[in-house]
Amino acid sequence: MNQRDTIRIRSQPSELATVRRCLEDTACEIGFSAADVSGIILAVDEALANVIRHGYGGACDEPIDVAFAPIAQADSPGIEITIRDFGKQVDPTTIEGRPLEDVRPGGLGVHIIRSVMDKVDYEPAEGDGMLLTMKKMVQR
C-alpha cells in the first residue's frame, strides 16, 4: 500500500465518521498499534472539527480535502495526513492549545493534535484557507 487516498467531505459533523473509518483502515494497514490508531483518528477528527467550527464558522456545506499517504521508510514506516480547507486564513503562530490546568469545556483540540502526532504544521494554503500537515511514525 503506497498510494495517496484523498477524500473530499463537506463541513458537516455527520461526515466525520466517514473519515474515521477510512483512516482506521489505512493506519492499521501501515502497522500502527491499536493505541496509535486511536490517537491518529482522534487527532484528525479534532483537526476537522476545528476547521468546521473555526475555519468555516459552523457552516455545514463547505469543502474539506483530507489526504492520507503512507511514509515508506524501511526502519520506521508512518503516515502523512493533510487537511486542506478553503475557509479563513489565520497566522499559524496563533494556533496553540490552552493550558490543561485550566479545566473548562473547549480548546482541547490543538493540544490533542500536538500530543498525538509527531509533526504538525499549519500554513496558509494557496489562495484561501489553511493547509494542515501531520505526520506520525510507527514506534518500533
Binding site: 459533523p13 455527520s14 466525520l16 465518521a17 474515521r20 491499536a34 493505541a35 486511536s38 490517537g39 483518528i41 482522534l42 477528527d45 479534532e46 472539527a49 468546521i52 467550527r53 490543561l100 479545566v103 473548562r104 469545556p105 473547549g106 482541547l108 483540540g109 493540544h111 490533542i112 500530543s115 498525538v116
Partner: protein
C-alpha cells in the same frame, strides 16, 4: 433524546445513564442537552456508563466537564463508570483522568 443514550434509570442513588456509540461533534450537542436536562432535576449523582462508548472527541469531553460543573452547583456529582479503552485514552491525553471520579462498576459509583 440523544442517539447515544441507550437507557436512563432514576433510583435512590441518582440518575444512571447508559451510553453507547460514538460521541463526536455530530452527537455531542444533543447529548449535552439531554444531560443538562437531567442536571436540572438536581440528582445526587449522575452516573454515566461508558463501557460501550467506542469513541469520544474533545467536544464530548467538553460536555462532560460542563455537566460536572453544573452538578457541583447543586452539590451533585458526576461519576464515569468503566470507560472504554478509547475513552480512557482521551481522558489521559487531556489529563482529565484525575479530574472526573471514575468507578469500575455502577455499585462503586453509588459510593462516590
Amino acid at each position: 433524546m440523544s442517539d447515544v443514550i441507550r437507557e436512563v434509570v432514576k433510583n435512590e442513588h441518582g440518575t444512571v445513564v447508559d451510553l453507547a456509540g460514538e460521541i463526536d461533534l455530530h452527537q455531542s450537542p444533543a447529548l449535552h442537552q439531554a444531560l443538562a436536562e437531567l442536571c436540572d432535576e438536581s440528582p445526587k449523582r449522575l452516573i454515566l456508563k461508558l463501557a460501550e462508548v467506542k469513541y469520544i472527541d474533545s467536544s464530548g469531553i467538553g460536555s462532560l466537564v460542563d455537566i460536572f460543573r453544573r452538578l457541583k452547583r447543586t452539590d451533585g456529582n458526576l461519576v464515569l463508570v468503566s470507560p472504554s479503552e478509547r475513552v480512557s485514552s482521551v481522558l489521559e491525553i487531556t489529563r482529565l483522568d484525575k479530574f472526573f471520579p471514575i468507578a469500575t462498576s455502577e455499585e462503586e459509583a453509588c459510593q462516590l
